[in-house]
């Protein structure tokens, strides 16, 4: 399999060339090295899982991808261009959006407003029209409302549209967060433990939504997950980290049978 060629998965999806490539990324916090010389790539249209035990550097990796942390060494190549040091909102404007390990919704706002918030970067009408809430500003608001309603339909959260998100159960909050990330129409969607703390039914729902998003919008997804069953079922390729180092990279089956991964998860007899 050549690197830049597209190929078709067994279930009929087309995986394109490399969307984002991480080259020799090293990230240090003072004396602590969170990520050490990691390289991997994310291909167009695939679901890429990042796994590893607690403290392996998975979330740090995600934070590097969306510009929240700046690695000391290494480079990130996104859409064929080496990315300069940037602020998170610049990453967002390039089409990278994400969800958080601990739900990071805007608690004081309704579900609808939270998802509308996800479209912030798509809205441009200036302050003057905003003041009047008339003409172009109102039109823009309504156009984006239509898009948001499609996402609401897609994720089946119609009934909680006007509810304040703080009052929603955890599983639904996670779903609203996914909706908010989707509202930005990302080309790369980062999901940080989308199924943490969910029961089996909720996990099944969430898995279905992730697959649907990938399938219908062709969104490239990078996700961190601890539930190995979910990872094996969803991911096209898996990268495994341990203590900030890459220990395995490949298809779920390859990674699953990799001795270093098994050791990392189960421990090694000394």
């Amino acid at each position: 399999m050549s690197f830049d060629e597209s190929y078709t998965t067994p279930d009929g999806r087309t995986i394109g060339g490399v969307l984002m490539e991480m080259r020799n990324i090293t990230l240090r916090f003072g004396g602590v090295t969170a990520i050490k010389d990691i390289s991997f790539d994310i291909r167009q249209g695939e679901i890429r899982a990042i796994i590893g035990p607690n403290g392996a550097g998975k979330t740090s990796m995600l934070n590097v991808i969306n510009g929240f942390y700046h690695p000391q060494e290494g480079e990130i190549i996104f859409r064929g261009e080496t990315r300069r040091r940037m602020r998170p909102y610049e990453a967002a404007s390039q089409g990278i959006s994400r969800t958080f390990q601990n739900v990071a919704l805007f608690q004081g706002m309704s579900t609808l407003d939270n998802i509308m918030a996800g479209r912030t970067l798509k809205m441009h009408k200036n302050f003057f029209w905003q003041m009047l809430r008339y003409g172009p500003a109102l039109q823009e608001e309504i156009e984006h409302r239509k898009v948001v309603e499609k996402i609401i339909d897609f994720l089946e959260i119609q009934s909680i549209r006007k509810k304040p998100v703080g009052s929603l159960p955890y599983g639904l909050q996670k779903r609203v967060e996914l909706a908010r990330a989707l509202a930005a129409e990302p080309s790369l969607l980062l999901l940080d433990e989308p199924m943490a703390g969910m029961n089996v039914e909720e996990k099944e729902d969430m898995s279905r939504f992730i697959l649907d998003v990938n399938d219908e919008f062709g969104t490239t997804i990078a996700l961190i997950e601890h539930d190995m069953g979910v990872v094996m079922d969803l991911a096209d390729r898996v990268v495994a980290l341990d203590y900030g180092k890459k220990i395995a990279d490949g298809t779920p089956q390859e990674v699953q049978s990799n001795q270093a991964v098994i050791d990392a998860y189960l421990g090694v007899a000394h």
Binding site: F68, L105, G108, M116, A117, T120, Q130, R133, L138, I142
Partner: protein, 358 residues
């Protein structure tokens, strides 16, 4: 029974996104406006208009200003008393330099000066939050108070060191100065407050208002979604100080008639902050309720012994007043920490299901 949206179907997103989607709310708004524009001027006494309504509206406007910053953007400020001062002093200078220009225009223009000052003192908010920001805005308060005293140019080198409002006419009606009638001043204040409240509501319900609330609720997530903290925070400081500045200009030019630095001291900042907190953070209705609570309630309490024919001397009434208002503030905040606006919302929610709550 009467307040309920059953049967009001929305057939477009435009209707559903309206600021008052429920018919009864729209009727209520027109009713309040009618009371303010018609009934109070027709039947209100001069005392009611001059000492109750005008200051209430002025403080409500200042409270909306601070609410934009504190309630919607989550940045606390103790400098808003001084920002009101910036509005007042800059209006004074503008009136001096442009004596023939419409004074209402100058009052609104003065907002831009306080917006600029507010933005400068809002710069620390990019790095610091919470209590630390309180300290820097307090520094703004003290610095500006110093400037109001020490820069005599600001009060035209008066011997008194105070702003003395000159007489100005708008469409041949005297609106400022000692000869302006109560009603003309009231209508100017009311119109400005109504229009600016409407604008505030529009901004808050749009993209910019949402970006403010995103910063308030979860600034990291907001940045990852694409809000620039610099722009969101500074625009909030600017709009907020603009409102404070216009409120300060109205306070001096259309209510007090003269003012010196004490009119904008830190107590005013505290008073506005109390109005915001008691009214409800992040609520425009709350801004009015909070201003009413802090300004009108003491007046009502003072009037009670007189109405009931009790012979209590004035200083006792004043002492009682402080005790009652203080106790009520504590009581209200214990019952509903989110302020009067939340009580109002709960009341409306109850009203929707009344009389069959199950």
């Amino acid at each position: 029974m009467f307040y309920r949206e059953a049967g009001q179907y929305k057939t477009s997103y435009k209707e559903d996104s309206a600021i008052f989607p429920i018919l009864q709310d729209r009727i209520a708004i027109w009713f309040y406006l009618a009371v303010a524009f018609v009934i109070i001027p027709l039947f209100g006494s001069e005392f009611l208009i001059n000492s109750v309504m005008i200051p209430f509206l002025v403080f409500a406007l200042a409270t909306i200003g601070l609410n934009i910053l504190t309630g919607y953007t989550g940045q606390i400020s103790l400098g808003h008393g001084a920002f009101m001062g910036v509005g007042a002093y800059s209006t004074y200078k503008l009136v001096t330099y442009f004596p023939d220009t419409n004074v209402v225009v100058l009052i609104l223009l003065s907002g831009f000066f306080s917006a600029a000052v507010g933005m400068v003192f809002g710069l620390p908010s990019l790095k610091i939050k919470g209590f630390y920001l309180v300290v820097t805005t307090l520094a703004a308060q003290f610095f500006l108070e110093w400037a109001f005293i020490r820069i005599p140019w600001l009060y035209n080198y008066n011997d008194s060191g105070a702003i003395e409002v000159p007489q100005r006419e708008v469409f041949n009606i005297i609106v400022t100065g000692p000869d302006a009638s109560v009603l003309s001043r009231y209508f100017v204040v009311l119109s400005i407050v109504v229009v600016m409240t409407w604008i505030a509501s529009n901004i808050i319900h749009g993209r910019i208002g949402r970006s403010w609330m995103m910063i308030r609720d979860m600034d990291i997530a907001a940045e990852l979604i694409g809000v620039r903290p610099l722009f969101a925070k500074l625009s909030s400081f600017a709009v907020s100080s603009f409102y404070a500045g216009v409120a300060g200009a109205l306070m001096v030019f259309l209510w007090l008639g003269a003012a010196e630095v004490e009119s904008f001291d830190v107590n005013v900042s505290f008073q506005i902050l109390f109005m915001v907190i008691i009214g409800g953070l992040g609520s425009l209705v709350g801004s009015f309720l909070g201003a009413a609570f802090i300004w009108i309630l003491p007046i009502v309490i003072r009037a009670v012994p007189r109405i009931m024919g009790m012979d209590i001397n004035a200083s006792t009434v004043e002492q009682l007043n402080f005790m009652i208002v203080g106790a009520l503030i504590v009581l209200f905040l214990i019952i509903e920490p989110h302020g009067l606006a939340r009580m109002w919302a709960i009341l409306k929610q109850k009203l929707r299901v009344w009389p069959f709550p199950y």
